[in-house]
């Protein structure tokens, strides 16, 4: 093989990934935003350019505002709840307990399951007639009522519960790995100084874990913006469209309501939100690594 061929060979091998990858990521992004500036309804129609009209329409829709409000409620509680529960579990697991491996496996298994599977299970457990409510009645708490899933203003909290259940183990795994990386002598030194264990965690260990917490926060935040499956399986966006989030809004507009232009506009808004969170993060992650090779 000639020398020149050897130097272009790596570029030839990577070329399809860059060409197809960029076409898929950035090409389709641009394509989608072109679509969002047309009046396309059932089918894409590129001859009906209307400029930012679909965006104006989107921001005038109560349903879109409700989807955003739901996303806000869901994101804050889901991300916050997963981080808090994950951190609590990681700290307790880090106390040199028995059967740690088994417990870790139990806390993390929901991550291996599809949101459709777990959403189906939660839907059955939270249903008002035969689910949790009946269980509490059978246990003797006869005045217990739990109908959050079928009430428009509370159904979103059911999505939060199922979401935290699914993701807390993931946060736990990341935090536990972080805790294991902390030098024991730091804790010993603080103990000799007379600090109590809770104080050590709060003042010494949490600050060291800040980068891990931040990464986890990033991942969970972008997952919450993209969350679609769980809502579809648990509530289908209902009752009515009271648990709509941007992802279900986009799907319904694009594929069942025949409002492709509007659907594309809502997808662009989702992209902008994720980009605003993730791009600075990716940039700093890539910048902070030494380019030694």
């Amino acid at each position: 093989m000639s020398r020149t061929f050897e130097t272009v060979l790596p570029k030839l091998v990577i070329a399809p990934a860059f060409v197809l990858g960029f076409a898929f990521i950035y090409g389709l992004m641009i394509w989608n935003s072109v679509l969002s500036m047309t009046a396309s309804r059932m089918l894409p129609n590129y001859e009906t350019f209307v400029g930012p009209e679909q965006y104006a329409k989107l921001w005038e829709m109560d349903r879109w505002w409700l989807a955003l409000k739901n996303l806000g409620v869901f994101s804050v509680l889901y991300v916050g709840g997963s981080l808090a529960l994950g951190m609590a579990l990681a700290i307790v697991l880090d106390q040199k307990v028995r059967a740690e491996g088994t417990l870790r496996t139990i806390y993390l298994y929901p991550m291996a399951l599809s949101f459709i599977v777990t959403g189906t299970a939660w839907k059955w457990m939270l249903n008002p007639s035969l689910g949790l409510e009946k269980l509490m009645h059978d246990l003797g708490w006869s005045s217990f009522t739990f109908d959050w899933l079928v009430q428009g203003d509370t159904a979103i909290y059911c999505v939060v519960i199922a979401g935290i259940w699914q993701s807390a183990g993931f946060a736990m795994a990341l935090f536990l790995a972080g805790l294991r990386g902390i030098d024991d002598s730091l804790i010993k030194a603080a103990q000799i100084d007379g600090a109590s264990l809770p104080l050590i965690y709060w003042r010494v260990i949490l600050p060291i874990l800040r980068p891990v917490v931040f990464s986890t926060l990033m991942v969970l935040s972008h997952l919450s913006i993209k969350s679609f499956d769980l809502v579809m399986a648990l509530t289908g966006g209902g009752p009515g469209f009271s648990t709509d989030v941007p992802a279900t809004f986009m799907y319904v507009m694009s594929f069942t309501r025949g409002q492709i232009g509007l659907g594309a506009a809502s997808a662009t808004m989702m992209l902008a939100t994720v980009a605003a969170i993730v791009v600075p993060y990716l940039y700093s992650e890539l910048r902070s690594k030494p380019h030694d090779r």
Binding site: M1, L9, P10, V13, I14, A17, L20, G21, F22, F24, I25, G27, L28, W31, N32, V92, V97, L103, T105, I106, Y107, Y109, P110, M111, A112, L113, S114, F115, I116, V117, T120, A121, K123, W124, M125, L130, L135, H137, D138, A173, L174, S215, T216, I225, K226, M232, A233, G236, P246, A247, Y251, I260, G263, A267, M270, L271, V278, L282, L286, R293
Partner: protein, 288 residues
Amino acid sequence: MTAKTLPQQLARVAIYAVLLLAAAFFLAPLYVMLATSFKDADEIRQGNLLSLPGSLNFDAWRAAWSEACTGTDCRGLKPFFWNSVLMVVPAVLISTLWGALNGYVLSLWKFKGSELLFGLMLFGVFMPFQVVLLPMSQILGWLGISSSVGGLILVHCLAGLAGTTLFFRNYYAAIPKELVNAARIDGAGFWRIFFRIIVPLSTPIVMVTLIWQFTNIWNDFLFGVAFSGADSKPITVGLNNMVNTTSSVKAYNVDMAAAVIAGLPTMLIYVLAGQYFVKGLTAGAVKG
């Protein structure tokens, strides 16, 4: 070991109490799914979520696998399950192999601008795939593979590309440069180094990527619901449609059996090769 004081012993008890309570919280839905799937309609009405089934009754499982109706189609989950298998096997193999080649170039055959291009590609790990749905469905139509398993395979390979490339690139970046340089001095070329040196070192990362991709693609719902047709729906879509089919009597036992069937492949892999799955999760979160 030194004897523990009373407060220390109490603290240990509290720790184990919290751990066991948490374990019960995480296991409860799995228990409820399994228990419900073995009950008949009467037992469900009379019992509650935690009550044990009277016997190991597999009727609901049989119904979920091959008899339950989705709309007017009463073939159970079986066709959807096989659609998912047909989709997941090629998609996982292709995206893993592709990622390995890309990661090899991006770590050991870097060229001017390759780092920047890789950085730009990383956004693919995070982007909301909603932006690709509408253009992609048009492209699949032009290619003549809309509503087909083939179309889903293509989409999953493209959607997984950034992630698999990242996994392999980070793993190969830790291979000692001297190893590769020595081989180069001996006259080994691009492919020879790949097959003789890199591939034999790749087993752990191949496992991580295979399991990661399998879990993601098997569990995918968004692409499945947007791009599949009547004969190519994956199991997540089949399950969701079956559960939401409006019928006079809700068969919760069949729904739960169906949910367990849909979750079984990824659960099995998690139980058998959990440590690789966890590595994939953490590698996906901590980049660069």
